[in-house]
Each structure stands twice: as structure tokens, then as C-alpha cells.
């Protein structure tokens, strides 16, 4: 008879639970394959986990773009075939990127939101000389230390978000001589954002009351809120990501803390997910359907017609990248990645669904573009569940260089490996 204190059976149950939890991090592939003469685009983005809600909009955006492009004749008369999968985490993203390039022969990979997974995809893309358009990773490091020739960034860099939000904070007198309490998502994106935010704060005469890391799986913020309440800061700063921003705002209001809130990273889908009466603060935004240029309006109308809800910033990123890649390939009449890189590095201009045209800056491949900030409307002024905030005028203002908000070479140098 087994006399050991813990039986085999009990031990096996525990082991099984562990294994099953680990398995839970794998995702579901969603693969569509058809014609052989089509030009294949790969799309990778997190569709499960804490960035999943944003990934869903990314997938809607890229699908709409491919539909529109195919209806207009595709690329050089060939149809675009989209292969879209859940990137899950950096390891899976890397494996899937390799498979997309080697087995499916995609000419470009579009997507990603997690900066950690973005780096993994970028490395595979560079090794295979395949284009990668980053539509949702904000880390400056991807544009600086980890930059490469085949990676382009439609998504704005952390510096640009901090720059846009920073202008609003300077205007409101929230920096000089003020104490900030910051909460930062404890992974690549958050660490990078904290660095940039700190640089801005110090340069403009602010100090930290405290800056704290928050694990990405934390759902209950009450212990943090108690600490903030005791620290009595002048401003509470969120460097959080994804669904955590929503939980943070909700619980902040639940505890009724009196300090103003601002953040350096934001996604509209998160605000929609918590809804009227649960939102607070001033936040930066890369695009919103309140931008009323003709092209932006067309995108908003087409998206709303297809999906029954308005597009948000992540849908914009994946839609726009897909359009830019196709436009460059059609203009150059080639899918050759090196030729596309040269074309973009020469400063090709693109409609970015904003007032001013944008271009991919030649030394770090960052899309130069206008940015916005948002403030939430009082609950009484909200018309429907999509209408939660007011969008600021674009920054930089019309007579300033688009590069004003972007990191300088000194701040974020990039030397492209050859």
C-alpha cells in the first residue's frame, strides 16, 4: 500500500492542472486558403488574452482593406489572399511568422499589438527579408535599438503618444512642480513607455510621488488605489495596456479618488468596454472616427456598414497598413521587399485618413503623422455607446513639422543592420 503523504493520484491531478494551464496559452488558428496565383498577405495579432479585444478590431480592419483592394483589382491584377492568425505570445508569434513566410510564402506580415511579440515577428521578418508592418506595438525600442530595414511602423511610437499627451498636460499646468503617481504595465511596452514618460516629466520639471509596476494579469486594483490615496499625488498616470486600462478607470471611480488622471497609452475599444460613467482622464489617441477628412469618412462609413459599429484606432492601423503596402506594390509593380523598402525610404507620401499626409521616416521607418488627445464627456452629453469623448485638434499644429513629437536620433537612435 502506498504510504507516502501525497498519493500518486493526487499528484497526477496537480500535474495535470499545471499542464492544462500551460496549454491554455496556445491559441486557435483561423486559416483561409484558396487560389494559387493570389498574392498572400499574412496577418498576426493577439486575438485572445488581455490584448484580444483590440486584436478583434485589427482583424476587422485588415479584412475590410483586403475586400476593398480586391474589389478594385487587387495588386497588379492579382487577388490578395489574407492568412490571418492569433499571434498569442512572442514564442507562438515567432513560430507562426516563420510558417507564414516559409510555407505560405506571404509577401508581407501585417499586424501585432504586443511589443514583445512584435519584436519576435520583426526578427523573423528580417532574417527572411520579408516586410513587416507594425500596426499596434508602441515601444520606442522597436524603432530604435531593435529597428530593422524590413519593419515599418504605422502605429505611433510611445514618444509620440507621450508628446501628444504631454502638450495637453503642459497646457493644463500638470507637469512643472507636480508630483505624479504612475502605474506601469510590467512588460516590454510598459517599461519602454515609463522610460519615455519619465524623460518628458523630468525635462519639464515634474517628479514622481511613486512609479509602480503592475503585472499584466492583475484585475483587482484596490491595493494600488489605497496606496495612491495615501500618497496624495497631483496627477495619477496610467502606463497600462489593454483591458487593464478599463479596470483601472472603473475601480478608480469606484473608490472615488479625487486626483486627476492621465495616461500615455489608450485604445478606444477599452473605453467602449467600460462604458458611460466609468471613464475618466485625459488620454492620447492615434486616430478616431471623429476625424472628418473625406477618406476618413469613407473608411468610417464602409466599416460601419460592414460590421454594424464604428471603427476605432486599432482597426484604422491594420486597415491603413494594408492599404499602404498594396499602394506601394501597385505603384512599383513589384512585391519585391527590397524595392518597396527603397521606395518608402525615399519619403513616399500616403493618405493616413487625417488632415495632413504622412510618410515613413527614412532612418527609423516610423510613420510621421498627426496625433490627438481625448477628454471624456459628462455622462449627460453622451448620445450613444460609441460617443464617449471629445477629440482634440491634431498635434503638431499645421505650421509645425510632423517630426516634432517623434523621438530624435539622440533619444532613440536606429542603425539598420544590413
Amino acid at each position: 500500500m502506498d504510504r507516502s503523504p501525497v498519493s500518486r493520484r493526487r499528484r497526477e491531478v496537480l500535474k495535470g492542472v499545471g499542464a492544462a494551464t500551460a496549454l491554455g496559452t496556445l491559441g486557435f488558428p483561423a486559416i483561409v486558403r484558396s487560389q494559387s496565383d493570389a498574392i498572400r498577405f499574412g496577418h498576426l495579432t493577439p486575438r485572445t488574452g488581455f490584448l484580444g479585444p483590440l486584436g478583434e478590431y485589427a482583424v476587422m480592419g485588415v479584412n475590410l482593406a483586403v475586400d476593398e483592394l480586391n474589389a478594385a483589382g487587387g495588386i497588379m491584377g492579382r487577388k490578395i489572399e489574407l492568412i490571418a492568425e492569433d499571434s498569442v505570445n512572442p514564442q507562438t508569434a515567432s513560430t507562426k511568422a516563420e510558417r507564414l513566410i516559409e510555407r505560405d510564402k506571404v509577401v508581407v506580415i501585417i499586424g501585432e499589438i504586443s511589443s514583445a511579440s512584435g519584436l519576435a515577428i520583426a526578427q523573423v521578418a528580417q532574417r527572411n527579408r520579408t516586410l513587416f508592418f507594425n500596426t499596434g506595438c508602441n515601444s520606442d525600442e522597436l524603432r530604435g535599438k531593435s529597428c530593422n530595414r524590413y519593419m515599418f511602423h504605422t502605429e505611433a511610437a510611445n514618444s509620440m503618444y507621450v508628446g501628444a499627451e504631454g502638450q495637453a498636460l503642459l497646457r493644463d499646468g500638470m507637469v512643472k512642480g507636480k508630483k505624479w503617481y504612475s502605474l506601469t504595465a510590467d512588460y516590454a511596452f510598459g517599461h519602454d513607455l515609463l522610460k519615455v514618460a519619465k524623460r518628458f516629466m523630468t525635462a519639464n520639471g515634474g517628479t514622481f510621488a511613486a512609479d509602480e509596476l503592475v503585472p499584466t494579469d492583475a484585475a483587482d486594483f484596490s491595493p494600488y488605489l489605497l496606496k495612491i490615496r495615501n500618497a496624495k499625488p497631483d496627477l495619477v498616470i496610467s502606463n497600462l495596456a489593454g483591458a487593464q486600462i478599463g479596470n483601472f478607470m472603473k475601480q478608480y471611480l469606484e473608490f472615488g479618488l479625487p486626483f486627476p488622471v492621465a495616461g500615455f497609452g489608450f485604445d478606444t475599444a477599452i473605453a467602449w468596454g467600460v462604458g458611460k460613467g466609468n471613464v475618466t482622464g485625459t488620454w492620447p489617441l492615434v486616430w478616431d472616427s471623429q476625424v472628418k477628412t473625406p477618406a476618413a469618412q469613407r473608411f468610417t462609413d464602409a466599416f460601419t456598414k460592414k460590421y454594424g459599429k464604428p471603427p476605432e484606432n486599432q482597426a484604422w492601423g491594420d486597415y491603413l497598413s494594408t492599404k499602404h503596402v498594396a499602394q506601394a506594390m501597385n505603384e512599383l509593380k513589384t512585391t519585391d521587399s527590397t524595392k518597396i523598402v527603397e521606395h518608402l525610404e525615399k519619403g513616399a507620401k500616403f493618405d493616413v485618413l487625417k488632415t495632413r499626409e504622412g510618410y515613413y521616416r527614412n532612418w527609423d521607418h516610423q510613420l510621421m503623422q498627426e496625433m490627438y488627445t481625448i477628454t471624456f464627456k459628462p455622462a449627460a452629453e453622451v448620445k450613444d455607446k460609441w460617443d464617449l469623448f471629445n477629440l482634440s485638434a491634431p498635434v503638431p499644429v499645421a505650421n509645425q513639422s510632423l517630426e516634432l513629437l517623434a523621438p530624435t536620433r539622440e533619444e532613440n537612435n536606429c542603425t539598420m543592420p544590413t
Binding site: G16, A20, G49, G52, A219, D220, P223, K227, A243, K250
Partner: protein, 290 residues
């Protein structure tokens, strides 16, 4: 500083209630059926989604009662057609079944409601805070605590003071003997599963306005709840209650002293407990699992 630490301890004790209702259900199903229910988080998520849909017509109070009942019905069906076949099987089979169920449930929610979180607010009458001295707490969380405490108390009375509870406890210790006495455990097992998933659904309704309603919410909370069960001891009622409180306090104190380890703290705690007490803090010796 002392006051601030005390605050974190108090808040942690209250926060322990988050995992409690789910952990209790897990331990119930395991001790009677020998089934580790990895799909338990799915019932928690169902509870939250049903509440969102029901609250439009019956209000939050109505949803708090109706949603767990609706989820219990689903639990009965799942028990009758799936769980029942696995009680006496190799535990690995039960794990595979419930793991698969959890994935099917999560993806179904994603298909039907979308991956984006769905707004669900604290009912207006419960908005606001309570100040006791300098200690601040949200009114809503106080209600949550009262409901959770009532559910735990009710469950204890049911298991300890009723004929139903006597059969269940006997079934936990020795199902063959219960069968030999001419009592079929089948209806008891069905009731226990219904009860356990109803508790998970209740937790889903209560936590929905705080943690958000999204397809992965079940998977997120399940791991932490398992940790609570393991620390408390598989099969032990009060062990689970104690473990939930301890995990809440340890998490609060970790956030006070070293926030990056906030979520890791409970796993470290589990490691320590298992090293020194392999059955968990209050794990009972259940002959057929030894």
C-alpha cells in the same frame, strides 16, 4: 506606515472573497466526484454574461438571483451528459474533458458577444464609498462581501446540518459504502455540480462590474482559484476559506512592499505550503484519493 499596512491587511481579507466562491465550487466537485473541473471558469463567465443580458429587464438584483439559476440549469445538463461518465475514470480524462469544455465555452462567448469587453456598471444605489475612520471601502464591495459570506454560510449549513449534506459528506469519504446502503449518489452529484456552478455564476455576477465582462474572464480567475484550493487543501471547506483570506492579504502586502510580484505572491505561497504541508493547509485525508 503601520496604518497603511493595516489598511492593506483589511482590504486583503475582503479581497479574498473574489476567489472564494469559485474555489468552494471547485473543491466540492472534486471531493465528491474526483473531477477537477477546468471548465469552472466558464460558468463564472456565463454568470457574468447572463447578468449583463438579464439586468436590462430585471435589474441588477434580479440578475443576481436569476443568472446563477440559469447557469445551474446548464450545469445540470453538462453533468448529466458529460461529467457523469468521468467520475470513476482516470483523472487525466476528466481534465481533458473539462479543459476542452473551457475552450469551447470561451470561444463560443467570443463568437456570440465578440472579443471586446462589454460594459456593465455598478448599480447607481451602490456607487460611492464608506469611510470607517480613515479606512475607505467601496459600498459595492461591501455588498459583495455580504452576499459572498451569506453564500458560504448557507453552503456550510447545507453540508453540515441537513440530511442532504450528510449523504454528500459520506459520499466524499466512501462512495461504495453509501451505495451499499442503498443510496444512489447520482442525484446528489447532480445537485452538487448545480450548486457549485451556481456559486461560480454568482461570483461572475458580483465581479462583472469590477473586473469587466469578456470571454477570457473565466480562464483569468480559474488559475488563481485553483491556487486557493491547493493552498487550502483539496476537499477542505474551511481550508478554502482560510486560503482565500490568506491569499488576499499576501497579495495586498506584496503590492504594498513590492508591487511587481503582486500576482506571483500566491504561487510562491502555494509552493511553500506544498513543501511543508503537501495536502495543503487543511487538506483532509480522503481514503480513495490516497
Amino acid at each position: 506606515m503601520f496604518i497603511e499596512i493595516l489598511e492593506q491587511v483589511l482590504n486583503g481579507l475582503l479581497a479574498g472573497a473574489y476567489y472564494l466562491l469559485i474555489a468552494l465550487g471547485l473543491t466540492l466537485i472534486f471531493s465528491l466526484g474526483g473531477l477537477v473541473n477546468l471548465a469552472h471558469g466558464a460558468f463564472y463567465a456565463f454568470g457574468a454574461y447572463f447578468a449583463v443580458k438579464l439586468a436590462d429587464t430585471v435589474g441588477f438584483g434580479g440578475a443576481l438571483i436569476l443568472s446563477p439559476i440559469a447557469v445551474a440549469m446548464i450545469g445540470l445538463i453538462v453533468e448529466r451528459f458529460l461529467f457523469r461518465r468521468f467520475y470513476r475514470e482516470d483523472p487525466a480524462l476528466g481534465l481533458l474533458l473539462t479543459f476542452g469544455l473551457a475552450m469551447v465555452a470561451e470561444q463560443s462567448l467570443r463568437w456570440i458577444f465578440g472579443a471586446a469587453p462589454i460594459p456593465f456598471s455598478i448599480p447607481p444605489v451602490l456607487k460611492g464609498q464608506v469611510l470607517i475612520g480613515d479606512f475607505i471601502y467601496s459600498k459595492y464591495r461591501l455588498l459583495m462581501l455580504v452576499v459572498a459570506a451569506a453564500a458560504v454560510g448557507g453552503l456550510w449549513v447545507l453540508l453540515r446540518r441537513t440530511p442532504f449534506g450528510r449523504v454528500v459528506r459520506a459520499g466524499v469519504q466512501n462512495p461504495d459504502m453509501v451505495a451499499a446502503l442503498g443510496i444512489s449518489l447520482k442525484p446528489y452529484m447532480a445537485s452538487v455540480v448545480a450548486l457549485a456552478v451556481a456559486l461560480a455564476a454568482l461570483a461572475g455576477v458580483l465581479l462583472a462590474p469590477i473586473s469587466g465582462v469578456h470571454p477570457a474572464m473565466g480562464a483569468d480567475i480559474l488559475t488563481a482559484s485553483f491556487v486557493v484550493v491547493v493552498i487550502g487543501g483539496l476537499g477542505s471547506f474551511w481550508g478554502v476559506v482560510w486560503a482565500a483570506l490568506i491569499v488576499g492579504v499576501v497579495r495586498g502586502l506584496t503590492i504594498y512592499f513590492f508591487p511587481p510580484a503582486a500576482e506571483a505572491s500566491m504561487y510562491l505561497l502555494m509552493l511553500l505550503v506544498l513543501l511543508f504541508r503537501p495536502r495543503g493547509l487543511f487538506g483532509e485525508r480522503i481514503a480513495r484519493f490516497e
